[in-house]
Symmetry: D3
Amino acid sequence: MNNKVAVYRKEHFNAAHRLHNSMWDASTNTSVFGKCNNANYHGHNYELIVKVVGEPDPETGFVIDLKLLSEVIEESILNRFDHKNLNLDLEEFTKVNPTAENIAIVIYRMLREKLNPALELQVRLYETERNFVEYPA
Amino acid sequence: MNNKVAVYRKEHFNAAHRLHNSMWDASTNTSVFGKCNNANYHGHNYELIVKVVGEPDPETGFVIDLKLLSEVIEESILNRFDHKNLNLDLEEFTKVNPTAENIAIVIYRMLREKLNPALELQVRLYETERNFVEYPA
Amino acid sequence: MNNKVAVYRKEHFNAAHRLHNSMWDASTNTSVFGKCNNANYHGHNYELIVKVVGEPDPETGFVIDLKLLSEVIEESILNRFDHKNLNLDLEEFTKVNPTAENIAIVIYRMLREKLNPALELQVRLYETERNFVEYPA
Amino acid sequence: MNNKVAVYRKEHFNAAHRLHNSMWDASTNTSVFGKCNNANYHGHNYELIVKVVGEPDPETGFVIDLKLLSEVIEESILNRFDHKNLNLDLEEFTKVNPTAENIAIVIYRMLREKLNPALELQVRLYETERNFVEYPA
Amino acid sequence: MNNKVAVYRKEHFNAAHRLHNSMWDASTNTSVFGKCNNANYHGHNYELIVKVVGEPDPETGFVIDLKLLSEVIEESILNRFDHKNLNLDLEEFTKVNPTAENIAIVIYRMLREKLNPALELQVRLYETERNFVEYPA
Amino acid sequence: MNNKVAVYRKEHFNAAHRLHNSMWDASTNTSVFGKCNNANYHGHNYELIVKVVGEPDPETGFVIDLKLLSEVIEESILNRFDHKNLNLDLEEFTKVNPTAENIAIVIYRMLREKLNPALELQVRLYETERNFVEYPA
């Protein structure tokens, strides 16, 4: 056992999306994605929990200042995702279906670039209270 | 004090919407509704709590069977609102802005028609955990 | 407007129960109460919220000391309801069906006797997160 | 029934406090307030829910813009209460015991001055998940 | 790091149970299990969170369709556990004490048979909000 | 895969604290810790989740009796932390800044001494609903 501590910051954003595979015809899309394929979109209050793992700095007692982590999440993620249509407003989902799995992977990659490589990172995303995902597993 | 009991049933639906007044120009809409005016919509996990007040039936001990109330809500509300775009898919919001206030009033009216007039009705709607409304007040 | 403040204390108990009307035959019971009629009982984590309304005492700033209210609830309610079978272990439900409505009325009456009559009382009982009741309405 | 809708905004602040009546001796304070009387203070994550009641504006569909309500709460309340010691940092509690009841009354009065008198106002304050108050009752 | 994502689905069921070791006498059972040994049973709202880990399908973006996972849980678990007495109605607990630990192990084994062996599985079970377990650890 | 099960117990305590490094001057403390450096302290409702991992005892079905675990937490942690000022009332934080990270490490060490070494231990501490930590990571 080392002295690593995990710190978590919870944020949220509200977005519209629709599940759709443009390589498939309409009936396949309906069959696979059901009401999530609704042409006019639907939406969610996404809850995002970002986990960062490292050793606390002896002078501050912080693994990372959660105010700073919150600002990084706001700038990198919330400003781009909040009150947006994921399919129409974000280029990341023009070819990738905005399932919770894929949104979590995209968010992970965006945050990974902004954080000190010495810190481990994991992202949990709640699409609803009952459906949520985590990346990397 | 009479013998009335309030019973509550919580349901939820996921929908896209946008706040917009078509009588106003774009800059007024942006100024008033901010990011909620995003042209491509955003969305929410709406939590709906329906309150029904009456005297318990002496034979069952129920004010109203909550399974039946749940079915009424599903048929009247969820089947029409869940995984929909409130602005585009529901005629009730073609001329009425789908604010939480107006959605609650629309839901109240739909449920009022389906329930025994002897029962009092109130609707609470959570747009997010931090923003919610109740009708009638 | 007077100076009354409402204070709330949340407690919980775990109990088994079954819904059943002994005046009815088995098929009527099944038809009305469904799986809640299961002969071997089922159970719930009941969440109980007790609301007391009055004017704060100028010396303490308390409407009622919530530690004392908690002790009254523990003695009067939790010691009798927690980890019990409501149908078999509580005489109050030998002739009264332990629906959430009736449990709330029974709890209200038990607490009403223990509290200063100058204080208003209301009981909210969650049978599940999605089904709850309030008495008096 | 009129057309009034209640809208709610949830905010939070973290503060230290201690319950103490300076007119009493130490043993009376300990006897009445128990561990809440600890000389070095303790603290809470206070959850504040502000309820505003009125008729929705026909042009916006808002009773009050919840962004504006949130800003009023931030300016009037959070900037003064958040990360503070209620007994030492707020003059309102130099002579008034900072019980949840009294904090709610103080917050109500501060917000009442800032809001349109045509709107009804009620404040709910959670000191913990299990102890909370509402003013006016 | 691979591309595995964890997906989670939350379900619930309400059941009665009692903790009891039939090899022991009554006083040992009371001494060890306390009020959980009540002869007439008590009950809980069990919250069940099923975690499945795998790589997202490139065509759907799903590790597993959570609608399908929800149906598997309903058929395999909820239809057998919900509104039941675990000691009396489920043969799995005739010789095994229905502690949260053992219920989680039983649920894990039932689900393991139904899911693609390439997918990793973990079960979390909340007996109450404050007592919960996870298997495998 | 072995037969280990993780069991969790959630407790809470309310405490005051302030973030401060006595080796730094005032402006550095303000710059790094912001409003968390307030000289008169602020406070939190800390939620503590203790995770213990082991194999269930075949006779009881328990990894550890959660009533006993709860008592250990109460004696070792809550009696020392609840309704206290972490900086002034606990010697552990005279030289260590009471960040969530450091509080979790201190709690882990206190509990580690009290539990069977064969059982694995992990501590999660919520400072607020949105800021929390876990040790060991």
